[in-house]
Amino acid sequence: MHKLLARQLAKAAKDSGEFDLQALLRLVCEAYQQSDNDRRRTDRSISLMIGELEQLNHGLDRLVQERTAGLLQRETELQAQNLRFDAALENMPHGLCMFDRQERLIVCNERYREMYGLTPDQTKLGSTIRSILEARVATCNGLENAETYVEQRLAEIRKYEPYYTEKAMRDGRTFAVNHRPMRDGGWVAIHQDITAQRRAEMQITYIARHDGLTGLANRAVLREKIEGASARLHRDGNPFAIFMLDLDLFKTVNDSFGHPVGDELLKLVAARLAACVRRTDAIARLGGDEFAILTAAEGDQGEAAVAVANRLVKAVTAPL
């Protein structure tokens, strides 16, 4: 017997053992009605749910299509961006390399390889900074101890702080390195060959401090030397002497033989003056045919100065 019918019979049973037929029928009808209601409710809810889910699926399809189109567009843009980035990277005058937080190479341009004479195999992506530093030492770094150099560079890098450094190469070139940590724990470094720049700076400095004709120091250098000697005099009591001279009738030489001969004469005089003093003394051309000499005095100041003056006059007045 179905358990529900058994329950209905039990509920409809009277104390006398007879059944209350009306009560039993009511229970049975209720059960049928409940079953019908449940079936209708189930049908309705499933139908509505299917409708809702279909609507959601349509919405999801639309969303997927929109997202896919957006992703394709984004991918195209990224490809174009990558091309531009690659072009910029490969055409930039500086070497560039980028490493991840595991110290493995993730970006490197051709210029970087050229600067350090590295092969593509030595700079393939994923190479460690240690292997690249070791290769650089072997190819062109200075003459320092290779192992010490690599460890020092690694220690510097692992501080995760920005720094700038200049490094002389074995072949005389000078490289500047600008190191910048990135937020993800990696870093990017720009390597610049500053050899020509450094040489030009040295040349400019030389021109600014020397007479272009004779190669002697100029007026500015002489002033520095005098200030330095004055300071030493006040500080240590070291005396010094200054000699000023010009060439008699020099204008006549220029006027008679022309300026090229006058220039040659000035160069000869400069050489003779230089031969009369110590390397630590200073000789400057003040302009035209005027020269000045600064010497550190020794022994009797007066006598020493007279001796130097005599040597200078003798040298200049000797036949040419």
């Binding site: 358990k3 529900l4 329950r7 209905q8 229970l27 209720e30 059960a31 409940q34 209601n37 449940d38 209708r40 409710r41 189930t42 309705r44 809810s45 499933i46 509505l48 749910m49 809702e52 889910l53 959601l56």
Partner: protein, 391 residues
């Protein structure tokens, strides 16, 4: 511990109280609102059990072992060997005062040796979530809080509850169990099936729900209920609502509807329905609901045994069953299936008393946090141990 069951009906009155239960310590009674409203039944119980704490409430049907009964008051009287009890009863005039009411109950019962609390609350004017949170906050972790919200059949008009006084509306009653001998197990499970799309609660306030995904929630319920929408709020129980915080999807809670407002298109639930949470409709299958009830019984039985592995239960046990009125409305004459499933799981010889409610209270099966549940079968098992009971 010893347990006896009694009943009252209009025709037969009270059954005979065994003489050795005259000094019972605790009496639970559950009945229809109309049978309890006059207070006479409480006074009769008080006369029968002068020493007992007496707790009771109105229901959506009384549970007595395998049967659900409507025309009788179901009673259990319990005598403890070594457990002490304390009762508390507070007024909860509105959902807004539910938390403070819970805190008052918790403070009244809090003690170092408090093991568990069983709560019976008004089912319509109380926000059950807030009530339980208030009690739990006052008594702290490690104290199990179980019980339920009183019912009023499928009418949703007035619910009554009381402790050591006649049941009255807007009241919350509770009893605390103290001492090393008491053992309390608990289990709660639903067995409902989720169906349909997941929806976002886009507008709500406390336990009032206004919108799902920008659409009035009441529109959705009326659409799914069809002709049965006339029976709202009762018929709304046929489609319980599973809700969860999207960030904690395993911590789901089922909510049951208490009222609807057709003017504002809002629905009031027995507990909070927080804005931003995910919601999904549920529907019931008789067999799986019965299996859910069996699972609750299993949890309660295992919990009772697990509390102290070396325990030996002394004397009787009792299981208090609080099941949701929604389950009964759906299962109809098949309701007995879930009661039989609980009985089969607990085993013979354990008396079962309880009621169909507007909300169930039990620790969450995953988090262990005591909270309000809906549309579940909740089982609380109570026993004393041999060592401490002196039996």
């Amino acid at each position: 511990m010893r347990v006896t069951q009694l009943s009252w009906s209009e025709a037969a009155g009270w059954g005979v109280v065994p003489t050795d239960f005259i000094h019972a310590d605790l009496v639970f009674f559950f009945g229809g609102r109309q049978a309890l409203a006059c207070g006479a039944r409480y006074r009769e119980l008080r006369a029968m059990f002068p020493d007992a704490h007496i707790l009771g409430c109105s229901t959506g049907g009384q549970i007595r072992n395998d049967d659900v009964i409507d025309n009788e008051i179901a009673v259990a009287a319990i005598t403890f060997a070594a457990t002490t009890l304390r009762a508390a009863c507070e007024q909860a005039a509105s959902p807004d005062s539910s938390r403070s009411c819970g805190e008052l109950i918790g403070k009244a019962l809090a003690a170092a040796d408090l093991v568990g609390i069983f709560v019976l609350s008004d089912g319509l004017s109380v926000n059950g979530s807030e009530l339980v949170a208030g009690i739990a906050a006052a008594v702290g972790k490690g104290v199990s809080v179980t019980g339920g919200l009183a019912g009023d059949g499928a009418d949703f008009r007035q619910t009554l509850a009381g402790a050591d006084r006649p049941p009255h509306e807007q009241m919350v009653a509770a009893v605390g169990f103290y001492g090393p001998a008491i053992r309390i197990g608990h289990g709660s499970a639903g067995g409902w099936d989720e169906f349909g799309p997941r929806r976002c609660i886009t507008r709500s306030q406390g336990n009032m729900l206004f919108e799902f995904d920008g659409e009035p929630a009441l529109d959705l319920y009326e659409r799914y209920l069809g002709d049965e929408a006339r029976g709202l709020p009762g018929s709304g129980l046929l489609f319980p609502l599973r809700i969860f915080d999207p960030e904690r999807p395993d911590h789901d809670i089922v909510r049951t509807i208490l009222a609807v407002d057709r003017d504002t298109r809002s629905m009031t639930f027995a507990g909070d329905v927080p804005e931003g949470w995910t919601a999904q409709l549920m529907r019931g299958n008789f067999d799986r609901l019965a299996a859910g009830a069996a699972m609750a019984a299993r949890q309660a039985a295992v919990g009772l045994r697990k509390s102290h592995a070396s325990d030996q239960i002394a004397g009787d046990q009792i299981a208090i069953l609080v099941s949701c009125i929604g389950r009964r409305l759906l299962m109809g004459q098949y309701t007995a299936d879930e009661l039989e499933a609980v009985g089969a799981e607990l085993g013979p010889g354990i008396p079962r008393l309880g009621f169909y409610s507007y909300g169930e209270i039990s620790p969450h099966r995953v988090s262990g946090v005591c909270e309000l549940h809906n549309q579940t079968m909740t089982v609380t098992t109570i026993a004393e141990t041999l060592d401490h009971a002196g039996a």
